[in-house]
Symmetry: C2
Subunit: 326 residues, 2 copies
């Protein structure tokens, strides 16, 4: 009855997205405990920390200590985020992270200017050097990432053709240097996507790059996160970024820019209920979500952690039925 | 690129769904002020109150006073909810409400038993008498409503064929009594729907009743409200119930955590951004949403009221661009 994929892959972004914006100090031990619990849910890819300027992002000053404290689970890729050479070297130096070199272009020049103080041309020209520095360090480059691919608070709507062009440029840079991109990440950085826009952009990128997997990084600022994810599934998207409990957003705060990522357990519940395998134990993930809420000490936006999973409800009903018969 | 409808019709349920479950006393004047503000947004159908036992639902004890206080706007249908003859007579007696007689069957016998202390047979047998009492009172019967059409916390999954059968029975009762149902309401009373399930149930009901409009009453307990609405739009659904700011929840269903209807302004924003006309002024509606939050004195789940509408962002950017050129 539909072309939904049979299996999707979720990259958990909660520890990184969430803890870097929290105001209060989150104890390093709590960050480690959440990451270790997430690694027991079936998640195979957990982004743990950002290696950024501690003066700019004080919540990530303990990045090295967090990574050092993780008890690695076999088969789980622990990753970090970096925005420059310094950050990359810090990530490498941990010796514990799965290093995934990626190229990044911005669909919004206005946002690039604000975020990185660069022009689009400067960002483009920096990519081959970046790629070669990854090659030099023995880090494979498989991912091309488009920031603000669906719209921008500082520039407005983004034409899908521009996104297709940026992807083309990244694929060419990779190929010119003997690499092949296998994953294209499309980020709705400022929550401008709608389901129809997702279909349009993903459709055009997919048509131009039929052999490349597409990943969606969606924010729920305007409540369309899961509707957009569903539109992505309908277009055959198999990779999603998500944050446990919706960490990184606060349900009640005013968000000028980005609010939280889509909530991992809400995405898992939607997929599992539609017969799409995620490889994740939903009940364990809900436990992690409740743990995240205890750690940050304020309500987090995920819904299933409060409403309960349908699977748990079914199990309870089956048990009650059995008791009734017994 | 899609078969989405050009126009949808939203029935605002916030005042009724919301205020009946609030714990603190909501002043009657505040309820009236919200309803009057909602009537200025372009909404054409506002459900204002429930005529239920004030001992069971104390928040609705002032139903008559609320209706009496409304300043009617031409073209707006103000409605009320009732569950029995007494409630119907109270609604009629106001002389101010748009009276829409509807038949109601429950897809879950377990929920019907808990909610109305009736069996499915008893509920079915009560419908012709109900219909005739509407006819006797001069109230047209145009709507058939299926409660718990997608699943039930007390019974589990609901086979779509059962929903189709209930709709068939209601259409037959209407026809046998010289009426024709023109709208079928499918309620996801306890938030069991997923987008694929919505497509399945709506598809089967539509195939069996090609000339009848379908309305979706969706709850957001598990975060799938707007994804389910999008699935409905893809199936040509043109009528949606929604609650401003996400006010409310059903007092009779077992909901852990917050569990309101889908949020009106989030639905409006999604539709307008996809080129679907709602007839509603989104910015005015957001003002109503903020008003609702002030009235209940606690955060409400709607997202756009915090994240801002894309339309407002675009207007701001256009203004800034104009200033820059000037």
């Amino acid at each position: 009855m539909s072309d939904l994929p049979n299996r999707i892959f979720i990259k958990e972004e909660g520890p990184r997205e969430g803890f870097q914006i929290e105001r209060g100090d989150i104890p390093t031990a709590d960050k480690i405990a959440l990451i270790d619990a997430l690694a027991q849910t079936g998640l195979k890819h957990i982004q743990t920390v950002s290696f950024v300027n501690p003066k700019r992002v004080p919540g990530m000053a303990d990045a090295e200590a967090v990574v050092a404290g993780i008890t690695p689970v076999e088969g789980v890729h622990y990753t970090g985020l970096w925005l420059n050479k310094q950050g990359f070297e810090r990530a490498m130096a941990t010796g514990k992270l799965y290093m995934d070199g990626k190229l990044t272009l911005y669909a919004s020049e206005a946002f690039l200017k604000r975020n990185q103080n660069r022009t689009g041309d400067e960002q483009l020209k920096a990519q081959p050097d970046l790629l070669r520095s990854y090659q030099h360090a023995g880090v494979p480059v498989r991912t091309g990432f488009v920031t603000a691919a669906f719209g921008c608070n500082f520039e407005g709507d983004i034409p899908p053709a521009r996104v297709v062009d940026l992807v083309r440029q990244m694929c060419a840079i990779a190929r010119d240097n003997g690499e092949e991109l296998t994953l294209i990440g499309l980020a709705d950085t400022m929550a401008w996507a709608t389901p129809e826009r997702v279909k349009q952009v993903v459709g055009q990128v997919r048509d131009a790059n039929p052999d490349v997997a597409i990943s969606l990084h969606l924010h729920d600022t305007r409540g369309l996160g899961l509707a957009n994810a569903y539109a992505g599934l309908q277009m055959g998207v198999t990779h999603f970024d998500a944050a446990v409990a919706g960490l990184g957003g606060c349900p009640f705060a005013k968000h000028a820019g980005a609010a939280g990522n889509i909530c991992t357990e809400d995405l898992v519940q939607m997929c599992e209920e539609m017969g799409i395998d995620t490889g994740i134990d939903l009940e364990r993930l809900i436990d992690c979500s409740l743990m995240a809420e205890r750690i940050v000490r304020h309500p987090l936006p995920g819904k299933v952690k409060a409403g309960g999973s349908l699977r748990a409800l079914r199990a309870k009903l089956a048990h009650a039925g059995h008791e009734g018969q017994g």
